[in-house]
Symmetry: C2
Subunit: 349 residues, 2 copies
DNA sequence: GTGAAAGCGCTAACAG
DNA sequence: CTGTTAGCGCTTTCAC
């Protein structure tokens, strides 16, 4: 497997009887070089089929112009649209993206971070797994002075920035809407409270119930993961308890889908027998019957802000002050949670 | 933004009073080095918080241990599950993945390929955009002796391998099933025929109709893109013609969803007024009413084969003979295309 | 405007 | 088993 050697700067330089340096500068559009030489160099580079060697470039310049990204999942509307937005914003700023997927696996997450550091990415955007608890690897990143931005699923680590959506506020809006609809028996199929998105949405639920003077029945709060299966299990647990709530606030869209599946199985009709709202959506929501009303997560903004923050940090001195930005959410009404027309309705996307 | 210098091999070497080479070998588990030294080196590396520099490693070894991947979309069940499978298989073989997304944009696709070549990836797996026609960039890849595997959406380029699903065979099975169900007025909302997946599925439709002696009404064949909107437009075109078919074979799952949306809008009931089957599926299919019967695309196999092929090519001499592998499909029956119980039913996933 | 010298951090090839 | 030498391809001073 010996491939033919790639064309290098020297090859171009030789051909033109100039130095490597001139070629290097010309190719990067450095103002040192005359327009004429630059043009000539580019022409020859094209003819020879020159492709720069990033490894060499990174090694000598000590930067990669690349942002490393670690997400827990990819076959998932929330993350895939988030990633598209990150790509767009990075592209726009002339950064490359090195994308890795941890598959909700802590060990894999760690390995990916190590790999990205070995690649000497200029910064790291991370959305942690459901189970990530150990801060060590993140502290290692910080101690290497690699800018780190947590996105959506975050962790409190000194020296890092965070972008989240207003999980608590969104949850409060959702629950208040349910209460305005006349419901009092309101359950929450929630995520793990060790992680911010699970915890904050739960807190929003608690807060809204408290504000409106409603009791929380401990049996009506189920904590688990963020997937379909967790929704299915959560529903079944409530169902088997024999004391069904009137309303469920699902921590994610997949969890709500799990509830749909379980409800269909046992003949509970949505939204008549059981009404529901959830956090997040998916492109197929409009095909769901009934389509879910939901708290919208602005993935486009989330991704853009994450990239902006990391680039800002990369460009700053050592004394950069990390930020925490919280992106607002809004309610989008579809076919659930509509019992009372006079309920507060926000504009929909 | 001057970051503190990273720990290097020399740092470890100095500390231990050995040479860089010894450290390098020890760290990579080279058999040259005694177990004792190796252990010691690793310990110190750990203590110092050493992270290898891939740029340096790649530069001096002339390989990156990385496979470049270019896909047209990511927020899309087919591609996101494909990508997960590629990751798994690459990970298993100790390769890294450099993933890029062209967003169905030819120019972006070209840039990404250039970037990946600049990264000196060991090989490239590409699924082209809907519009890609120019072979130049791919020929450039081949001329650089970079192994290239086309996946699903392919192009005939000398020296490259291909993995596809049996598009034509799958389409034939689908149409024959429709005919077995007693339908004769069968329309096809298809993709562009310039690209293999559009062309082959269309050919399957034509072939099956011919085999069963049915006429194809040119008005019942609509060609367009592969998205929801294309399905919506396609349906509307058929609908407005005033001569509705009884059955639609949709070229992709999103196209079928577009048909659902359009049909709902004008009050055409599926599957009673109009029955349908499509190529491909999505995780939410079970929540769709009626759930689509479909030709299943084995994304796990597709991804695995793509990675296996590229690794095989990377490992071989210059004289590697490219392969074309076609992965079989199977019909999965749900709530559509069921009119006759005695129709051929395959096992479902 | 241009170029010479030096070196980024690592591995390959060989010698001991 | 360990070390020496050389160099991957590029960018960075700093002279000219």
């Amino acid at each position: 497997m010996n491939r033919k050697p790639h064309v290098t700067l020297s090859d171009i330089a030789k051909q033109l009887n100039v130095s490597k340096v001139t070629v290097s500068k010309a190719l990067r559009g450095h103002p040192d070089i005359s327009r004429e030489t630059t043009k000539l160099v580019k022409k020859v580079a094209e003819e020879l089929g020159y492709t720069p060697n990033f490894a060499a470039r990174n090694l000598s310049s000590r930067k990669s112009n690349t942002i490393g990204v670690v997400v827990p999942k990819i076959a998932h509307f929330f993350f895939s649209s988030l990633i598209e937005s990150i790509y767009d914003q990075a592209f726009y700023n002339n950064f490359d993206i090195a994308l890795t997927v941890s598959q909700e696996n802590v060990e894999r997450e760690r390995k990916h971070i190590e790999t990205l550091m070995a690649m000497r990415v200029d910064g790291l955007i991370i959305s942690i797994t459901q189970q990530t608890k150990d801060k060590t690897i993140f502290e290692k990143v910080v101690s290497r002075d690699v800018p780190l931005v947590f996105m959506d699923r975050v962790m409190p680590v000194d020296g890092t920035s965070q972008v989240t959506v207003d999980d608590k506020g969104g949850a409060i809006k959702a629950i208040e809407l349910a209460i305005d609809n006349g419901y009092t028996k309101i359950a929450h199929i929630g995520g793990f409270t060790e992680i911010n998105i699970g915890r904050r949405r739960y807190e929003g639920y608690v807060e809204a119930m408290k504000r409106r003077g409603l009791e929380i029945d401990p049996d009506w709060v189920v904590h688990g993961g963020f997937g379909e299966d967790d929704g299915y299990q959560g529903f079944m647990k409530l169902y088997k308890s024999g004391r069904m709530p009137e309303f469920i606030f699902a921590v994610t869209y997949p969890v709500a889908l799990g509830v749909y599946a379980a409800a269909a199985e046992v003949g509970v009709r949505i939204p008549d027998d059981l009404d529901i709202i959830c956090f997040g959506s998916a492109s197929i929501n409009k095909f769901l019957k009934p389509a879910l009303s939901y708290v919208d997560q602005p993935t486009a903004t989330l991704g853009k802000v994450a990239v902006d923050l990391i680039i800002e940090h990369i460009g700053e001195s050592d004394e950069y002050l990390p930020k925490h930005i919280e992106v607002p959410t809004e309610l989008v009404m579809r076919d659930t949670c509509l019992r009372k027309k006079n309920a507060v309705i926000s504009s929909a996307k």
